[in-house]
């Protein structure tokens, strides 16, 4: 295991539609909330990590912090899981003692936000954009039909992923969508990119979150300490068309194997799970990549109720990107929910989640990070 803890974790005061907040403001509000959650002051922070825009320099400068370690890893929505892993390495090496990791994104209102269409000379600009790709809904979704043909996943099972997660969201006052939905509702919602209907695609929201990571030697100082038992990271492809096998994510699998090995756990130890769900097929790929079910079984596993309230494997208990919030880089919210669950303070609290696993996706099956979190060290 690593020898670090998450000592503080918080989101912005509100998430959802925040036209009065810029991207940077969301970072800063989340940062101050996480510092306060840990019972620290900003002067205690000597390391900082965030994605490349606005970047660690801007965030540290705005907070009046001069860190002695920084990380600007920006590999999509899983970046914050990688920041935790990199912070663990830095703390274990003595390069920093207390690291602040921030996320903020004005994904819906686009205030102070930057957009990067693929440059027409980039590989994606030459070999994907000319075919009418319009962001993630039209590209991240392409592998699903192949999976459906190879493994018999039905349209109804894919729709049920959204149904199961709405059942968690119904218990969470901060979730954007809480009204119950049925498979018929999902299949009757507007077609976005066949086979994906609107309710099988994530929300687009504004919000932020932040974490404080420090040495496990200090765990007694932090009542909300959550141990980082294992971490993993991997990558697969910069373009969806070049994913090696459209029915499985190599990055999910390798990141998961690394994290489970470091934590010395098996799937049988896991009581709570977060899988980055930008679209309804991701929990299917994630459950199989981590080994919770055999190849081809995840759709039925979810449709049989195993991952919803009352099921054996509580999954995406905040409602996920499909119902809770999705700013664009959702990974931070998955981590914060796992911390809340392990602490026992989640809106839809599950029973004794001694070990929680967070699987993050970056880009479109481009990168992955996995964290194994626990109330106690192992």
């Amino acid at each position: 295991m690593t020898s670090v803890i998450i000592a503080g974790a918080a989101e912005t005061d509100q998430i959802g539609k925040l036209p009065g907040h810029s991207t940077l403001q969301l970072h800063l509000e989340a940062a101050l909330n996480a510092v306060a959650d840990a019972g620290l002051t900003r002067k205690d922070i000597d390391g900082i990590a965030t994605v490349s825009v606005p970047g660690p320099v801007q965030v540290a400068h705005s907070l009046g912090i001069v860190p002695r370690w920084m990380d600007g890893t920006g590999v999509g929505g899983t970046s914050f899981l990688l920041h935790v892993r990199h912070a663990a390495a830095a703390i274990m090496a003595g390069y920093a003692s207390t690291v602040l990791i921030t996320h903020g994104e004005s994904g819906r209102s686009r205030v102070g936000a930057t957009r990067f269409p693929a440059a027409p000379s980039s590989p994606a600009g030459q070999f994907e954009a000319p075919y009418g790709v319009v962001g993630a809904p039209t590209a991240f979704t392409i592998p699903a039909l192949r999976y459906m043909k190879e493994y018999g996943l039905t349209h109804e099972q894919l729709a049920y992923v959204a149904v199961a997660q709405r059942r968690w969201a119904a218990k969470n006052p901060r979730a954007m969508y809480r009204d119950p939905i049925t498979v018929d509702d999902v299949l009757a919602s507007r077609m976005v990119a066949y086979p994906f209907h609107l309710l099988e695609c994530c929300l687009v929201t504004d919000g932020g979150g932040a974490l404080i990571v420090t040495s496990a030697d200090r765990a007694a100082d932090f009542p909300g300490a959550v141990h980082v038992l294992g971490t993993g990271e991997s990558m697969e492809t910069p373009m969806i068309s070049q994913m090696a096998d459209f029915t499985q994510s190599r990055a999910f699998r390798l990141a998961g194997q690394a994290a489970f090995a470091e934590a010395r756990i098996t799937v049988a130890d896991v009581r709570h799970l977060m899988i980055y769900d930008a679209f309804a097929h991701l929990p299917v790929y994630g459950l199989e990549a981590l080994g919770f079910v055999r190849k081809g079984e995840a759709g039925a596993f979810i449709a049989d109720g195993n991952t919803e309230p009352g099921g054996v494997l509580p999954l995406n208990t905040n409602g996920g990107g499909l119902s809770y919030t999705h700013t664009g880089m959702y990974g931070m919210f998955a981590i914060v929910e796992a911390v809340r669950q392990v602490r026992g303070e989640a809106a839809a609290q599950v029973e004794s989640p001694d070990i929680s696993v967070v699987l993050g996706n970056g880009g479109m099956f481009a990168t992955s990070g996995v964290l194994v979190l626990g109330r106690q060290p192992r």
Binding site: A119, P120, S121, P123, G125, Q126, F127, E128, A129, P130, Y131, G132, V133, V134, P137, T138, A139, T141, I142, P143, A144, L145, R146, K149, R190, M191, V192, A193, Y194, P195, F196, M239, I240, S241, Q242, F246
Partner: protein
């Protein structure tokens, strides 16, 4: 909408031979001279074995439909075609590439995975863009 509004690729030195091939009506891709592996997208190093000894060759242009979505929210320049398929096709030689599917209605009933396809070329800006269409073989 004018096709000129659709995204136009800008070749780079390592991709120019691919686009030159398209202009000549050929789908040229690369293969490794050490391990023999054909690959796409254009790059100077074999992704299989790391060798820099690679060559261009003309692929057969035959492919099958590997996967797709049917996009209902058109990109710029695609307004008159929506809903349209954004597909990934698998070349006979192994590599895959993105394509639209032309010459056939873009419906789930008409677009059957693994159906045979062949390359065609469509003018895009000053380039010829590879596209795939059903192949009666």
């Amino acid at each position: 909408m004018a096709a000129s509004e659709k995204a136009v690729p800008v070749p780079t030195p390592e991709t120019q031979p691919f686009w030159d091939g398209c202009a000549a009506g050929e789908l040229r891709i690369q293969r490794c001279l050490d391990c023999g592996k054909p690959y796409f997208y254009p790059r100077p190093v074999c992704p299989e074995c790391g060798s820099a000894k690679v060559e261009w060759f003309t692929a057969s242009g035959r492919a099958t439909l590997y996967s797709y979505v049917i996009n209902h929210r058109p990109a710029r320049g695609f307004e008159d075609e929506a809903p349209y398929a954004i597909a990934v096709v698998q070349l006979e030689e192994g590599p895959r590439l993105m394509s639209n599917i032309t010459g056939i209605p873009n419906t789930p009933e008409d677009l059957v995975l693994d159906m045979p396809l062949r390359v065609t070329f469509e003018r895009r800006g000053d380039l010829q863009l590879p596209q795939f269409t059903p192949d009666a073989r």
